[in-house]
């Protein structure tokens, strides 16, 4: 929202409720690529462009940080372990079912 749209971006953007107030076309472009950016899958020139935009756009800076945090939380979110009793009972149930078929 801090940068003006290039003519190409203007042509790409279609009028919508999101194409609005903050001159957000650039931010929208970035938003669509954010996961690839976070996963380090983009070419270095595009990464550099995104970094420049984020450095100049406080809203995108917060957005990128919150998406990165979301991914980090998912990666660290533990699942409860299987209990030994359930492990044994399930094995028995599977073998019983397999023999019954």
């Amino acid at each position: 929202m801090t940068k003006k749209k290039t003519p190409a971006q203007k042509n790409r953007s279609t009028p919508s409720s999101h194409d609005h107030l903050h001159g957000q076309g650039r931010c929208e472009d970035l938003l669509r690529q954010l996961s690839s950016y976070i996963d380090d899958e983009l070419p270095s020139d595009i990464c550099a462009e995104i970094r420049r935009h984020v450095g100049a756009c406080p809203n995108c800076e917060v957005f990128v940080a919150s998406l990165q945090q979301t991914v980090t939380l998912c990666r660290h979110h533990p699942a409860p372990p299987l209990t030994p009793v359930d492990r044994i009972n399930m094995r028995r149930a599977i073998l019983d079912a397999a023999n019954a078929r």
Partner: protein, 206 residues
């Protein structure tokens, strides 16, 4: 002269299959339970899914040629079983997540934050409210998006492996994953989680 008696060989194939299954179960049941729990969100459904998965694996073991890693094969069986079981149970229709739904329409929406500033993810997840909000956000995801997020971001598989498991190309996996992440981010940041006493003082924003 006596003809030598040919001993009947023991039914080795059956024994081998059974041994293979025991090893398969022993080595992978924890992995598949964790995956099932993350897909189902609770223990009983997760156990049903594990049993269905290993029952199918038991029956398909003789045909498994080892083209894929065993874990990938089991993830695939579990994922298909999960879709079947869900259809049977709920008849829940899949709905699509549109990118347009995630484009913030106001400055406030853009700047929603997740309260983990200055905390490690482990410390942040000690916040029960945040943990529950994360669980609920994942549970609210339409199933095919949840599966992509769980496999990629929670199970730590590559986009290529997720594609193999879900029967999608990498581009489709990345598209689903991105929408799933945006969905969870929006749910988390809009959930109004605040500072808790069991965390570092001043570590959480409001």
């Amino acid at each position: 002269m006596r003809t030598p008696v040919l001993k009947t060989p023991p039914p080795r194939p059956a024994i081998q299959e059974s041994d293979k299954f025991e090893r398969l179960y022993r080595d992978h049941v924890d992995l598949i339970y964790r995956y099932a729990y993350r897909l189902c969100g609770e223990a009983e459904s997760a156990k049903d899914l594990v049993q269905e998965t290993f029952l199918n694996a038991y029956q398909g073991l003789k045909d498994f040629r080892g083209d894929a890693r065993v874990s990938t094969w089991l993830y695939t069986i579990a994922s298909r079983a999960c879709i079947r079981m869900r259809r049977k149970r709920k008849g829940e229709p899949e709905h699509e997540l549109s990118m347009d739904d995630f484009v913030p329409t106001s400055e406030g929406e853009f700047r929603l934050q997740i309260p983990m500033e200055g905390l490690s993810p482990e410390e942040a997840l000690q916040n029960k409210e945040l943990r529950q909000a994360l669980d609920q956000a994942i549970e609210k995801l339409p199933p095919k998006y949840r599966m992509a997020l769980v496999l990629r971001d929670m199970e730590g598989l590559s986009a290529k492996e997720v594609g193999t498991i879900m029967g999608l190309n990498e581009r489709a996996v990345k598209s689903r994953l991105h929408r799933a992440r945006l969905f969870v981010r929006r749910e988390l940041s809009a959930s109004g989680i605040t500072h808790h006493d069991d965390q570092k003082p001043g570590g959480l924003g409001s």
